[in-house]
Symmetry: C2
Subunit: 442 residues, 2 copies
């Protein structure tokens, strides 16, 4: 069979599974997930063996960090089971009544949340994504097509097998609710299936996200880049400013919500820049400053060979994901806002100030999914936001924005129920013989 | 200046205007809209003159129906002003607090609704769309780029001029909140501006919607087709069935929520099909039936030369927008659901039955934006649903689904405010020294 027809078959099976999933109650889905958690723990041996195989095949061929992400031990298996239990315990995002309106006597309109249908997730390295995404999909009533990294193939395969065997026919759950695509070439084919797939979630490098966006007409939820900025206002508390700017860059520089730019009001630059620069340099952070920043550093007698450079225009829009930060002096909040809206990626940006009106202006005018006042950009995260589980972080404005929990996997549907004796038709309203009541019931 | 740089400039101005719009209060926007309504009425003479010009230039070059849609009289001008006042009176969709969570003492996370930013609307014929879309954009705090049909150019131009003059500097409103693109070629250019435009709304023929979808990476809100089906269940009340099937097809056949397919349970087909066929034929509806339907018609002695035909496979997925209906006999609810999910366009579908469990199955399993029980598909409409004003009807599942009111023009944003004495950083949570409270405040 050609790859195309294989992928088509998988999509058709997913669509069929999505239909069957609609018949499961919230309790059914919860029950299935708790059993799945048990089955994952019961099959720890198989998972570890498959993972040892992957690790052996990958050794020397991938970076040590990638290898670390790939490797699964007993503790990680228990963590996977724990994750499934925690997803099981979340509030069911589907089947919620969003609003109820009585259009006329006996004619009731309900807007309710429903599963999207079929979701495709393309991810890299970490095999626990198989378990997490499957659990989130089951919880929200979606069928899922998974495509993981080839280096984790055996682990992903055994995890998918355990999940499919566990859910199969349990409470009417179709095993095809979870399917694994195995070849890299399948990605191109699956991205063409806009007739079957309702949402693609790429989780991985910005290259992966960009590739997906450019090669599909299916809606994509993800973020290609996290170019986050911390703005230190003239009226900032100096201690807060140093603490937040340090945390935003150094607490975990490899992630998307770490700061890449630091912009500083001219009125506080002389005091703040030397203070944060000393702290950054102690942690081996490379500083890339504009002329004014460099002059302030020189005047303060701060020198660190190879660690202080002049920033180029390109730096302001670069995601380093590393111990590097760009620093620029600005004249006021307005310039700060304009800088961020121009160079940032709409992910997360912070202001440090004690001035409420400056803060309000910043929070209102910065066009990003998360905006922070006297708090580190690093807080922008589904777990920290209390969403229970993170499906992804979206820098798009449509459907979902910022950290997205399981509610990102549902849409809504309008249900109109006519209880009248004669069947409800539009003609009498169009002819002015009847009037709508439009009474909000809920 | 090249067309490309012209469109780019307009996009840049729109983006700037969108920023300024963020500073207006709900009361400001309402005030501006009430004044706009007055200005439209005060300029009725200019509008009618420009429209006479358009009508004269178009005469003989467009169909009589198009000409009718194009033409504006005094009554229509007052209706436009009335529409602006009614949009002014809607609840402001932006600035609503969707949720508030205390992440920890003094660290408050708010999810609030905010304008999308820049919206582009491409529409055909009816010049009142200029006024309606502009009012909806202003109400929701968005800048809008309008592109109307060339046959209405002078009317669209004078309406845009009146709006821009009216809003200019009123409560700080930027005139560039509303801009008109004048040439057909501008469409291709504007569709490339995904850096500037957050949403495109095509309003017009299914060809237009399809063209827009295929030529842009900007999210599109609209529906290419309305292939709606009415299913008459075995347990249907015959009188309701006839009434609803008739209304769904005949009340206004040219619109997207009119029915194109009628599918009938075998157990009621002998009674129902002859009854509805007689009623349809009285209204000159052409019937395209499957073999079984044709046999039932023959057995009932119903004949109407040229008005009864055999349906082809293609008929089940065709939007006639005309007095034609396809009829098919099915075995049960399950087959009805499968038929609709396969051939329908996900717009609106109805079941007529007195059997609650059949209804529930249908409403749950049919994957369409609106599903009706004992009610006509023609109810699927923003006005009838009580949304106040209709931005469009979306058959997509992402962001908005079904009839979309002004809430379709907003997204949300996360605002994290730290009130603690030391500036809120992630490090102590990551190190296990502090724990999140995740207390729902609202």
């Amino acid at each position: 069979m050609s790859l195309k027809s294989l992928v088509l078959q998988e999509c058709e099976r997913a669509k069929e599974a999505a239909q069957k999933l609609l018949l499961l109650s919230p309790e059914d889905k919860q029950f299935v997930l708790f059993e799945l958690a048990q089955d994952i723990e019961a099959n720890a041996g198989k998972i570890l063996a498959a993972n040892r195989n992957d690790a052996a095949l990958s050794k020397g061929r991938i970076s040590p960090e990638m290898l670390k992400r790939l490797q699964v031990d007993k503790k990680k298996v228990h963590a996977m089971a724990g994750m499934v239990r925690s997803v099981a315990g979340l509030e069911d995002p589907a089947g919620k009544i969003i609003s109820t309106t009585e259009l006329d006597k006996g004619l009731l309109l309900k807007k309710i949340s429903v599963p999207l249908g079929v979701v495709c997730c393309i991810f890299e390295s970490r095999p626990e994504a198989v378990v997490q995404i499957s659990a989130l999909a089951i919880k929200s009533g979606n069928a899922v097509l998974l495509k993981g990294g080839s280096e984790a193939l055996h682990t992903n395969r055994i995890l998918t097998e355990i999940i499919r065997n566990s859910i199969k026919d349990n409470k009417g759950m179709p095993e095809d609710a979870v399917q694994l695509l195995e070849t890299r070439e399948a990605i191109r084919e699956v991205l063409k299936m806009d007739e079957f797939i309702d949402l693609v979630i790429p989780r991985g490098s910005s290259q992966l996200v960009r590739f997906v966006r450019e090669n599909t007409r299916i809606p994509v939820m993800g973020h290609a880049e996290g170019v986050c900025t911390v703005y230190i206002d003239k009226d900032a508390d100096l201690a807060k400013a140093v603490s937040i700017a340090y945390d935003a860059k150094c607490q975990y520089p490899a992630v998307c919500n770490a700061a890449e730019n630091l912009i500083v009001h001219r009125g506080i630059a002389d005091k703040f820049i030397p203070a944060i620069a000393r702290k950054y340099l102690e942690s081996s952070v490379e500083l890339r400053g504009d002329e004014e920043t460099l002059k302030i550093l020189r005047d303060a007698g701060i020198d660190a060979p190879g660690k202080i450079k002049k920033a180029s225009e390109k730096d302001w829009a670069t995601e380093y994901s590393d111990l590097i930060i760009s620093i620029k002096v600005v004249s006021d909040v307005q310039e700060a806002v304009a800088f961020i809206n121009r160079h940032g990626s709409g992910h997360t940006d912070a202001i440090v100030t004690e001035n409420q009106s400056h803060a309000k202006k910043f929070l209102t005018m910065v066009d990003s999914s998360s905006v922070m006042w006297n708090a580190s950009t690093r807080f922008a995260d589904g777990y920290r936001y209390g969403l229970g589980a993170e499906v992804g972080i979206s820098t798009g404005k449509i459907h979902a924005r910022g950290p997205v929990g399981v509610e990102g996997l549902v849409t809504h549907k309008w249900i109109l129920e006519g209880k009248g004796r004669f069947g409800h038709i539009v003609a009498p309203y169009a002819e002015g013989k009847r009037k709508f009541t439009h009474r909000k019931v809920m």
